[in-house]
Amino acid sequence: MELLERFASGDLEAFEALFRQHQKEVYAWTVRIVRDSGIAEDLTVETFWRIYKSRARFDPAGNFRAWARRIATNAALDHLRHSRRETELPEDLAGPQTADPAVRRETCERIKQAFFQLPAKYRLVATLALIEEEPYNDIAEAVGISVALVKVRVFRAVRILRKKLYSLVAGVGAI
């Protein structure tokens, strides 16, 4: 019997084999969204827990990788929804290239604040599309929406950020 068929029928060894095959990829996808290695590890385990619970609904002829990525995206989105204002970005940020370090720090801080205030569904696509530069097709497949809707969400995220940062942009432009 194939690995995926054994997994769907509840074979724990098959699940372990799939876990070991895909854990790095699920982690790498999740950490791009939540931007914290510890949280990404927990969400990777949560993703596979959801996968294990839903094994009976998985079609062994289907694409396990795509299915796992979609579940991982939903788990990460749930996390963003429940901890929007508590997560901190890592400190090793590049920072906008302005002459004055104080202005650069201030700019970074305001961008981070505005970014954290984005609704989770916009923050998710903005992170993947604008920061991680993932192809829109991949984002659409992972989130379970159309490419057009991904573009709409990215546009809306940028519009919200623009409104919040309007004074900042004007300030940076003058430097």
Binding site: L12, E16, F19, R20, Q23, K24, Y27, A28, V31, R32, R35, S37, A40, E41, T44, V45, E46, F48, W49, Y52, L89, P90, D92, L93, A94, G95, P96, Q97, T107, C108, I111, K112, F115, A126, T127, L130, I131, E132, E133, F155, V158, R159, L161, R162, L165, L168, V169, V172, G173
Partner: protein
């Protein structure tokens, strides 16, 4: 500045402020954590919704206080 130019500037600011995490790799095997999670799986009794327990409780109390209703209940079952 047009909205389009402004949006481009916002995108550039965002990319400058938040670095991509493409090189971030998993540094340890998470299978032991996964096994712990699987072991924590609640028993079948814990999976019964609370309202089923509440309904059973109400039915039990009703039969206790009104034992005459037992034949009627059996008839309807």
């Amino acid at each position: 500045m047009t909205n389009k130019e402004s949006n481009k500037e916002i995108e550039a600011l965002l990319k400058g402020a938040i670095a991509p995490m493409k090189d971030s790799e998993l540094r340890r095997d998470l299978w032991p954590q996964m096994l712990c999670k699987l072991d924590e799986q609640p028993s079948a009794v814990n999976n019964i919704p609370w309202f089923d327990w509440a309904l059973a409780g109400i039915l039990g109390a009703a039969l206790l206080f009104f034992p005459g209703a037992i034949p009627a209940l059996l008839y309807h079952l």
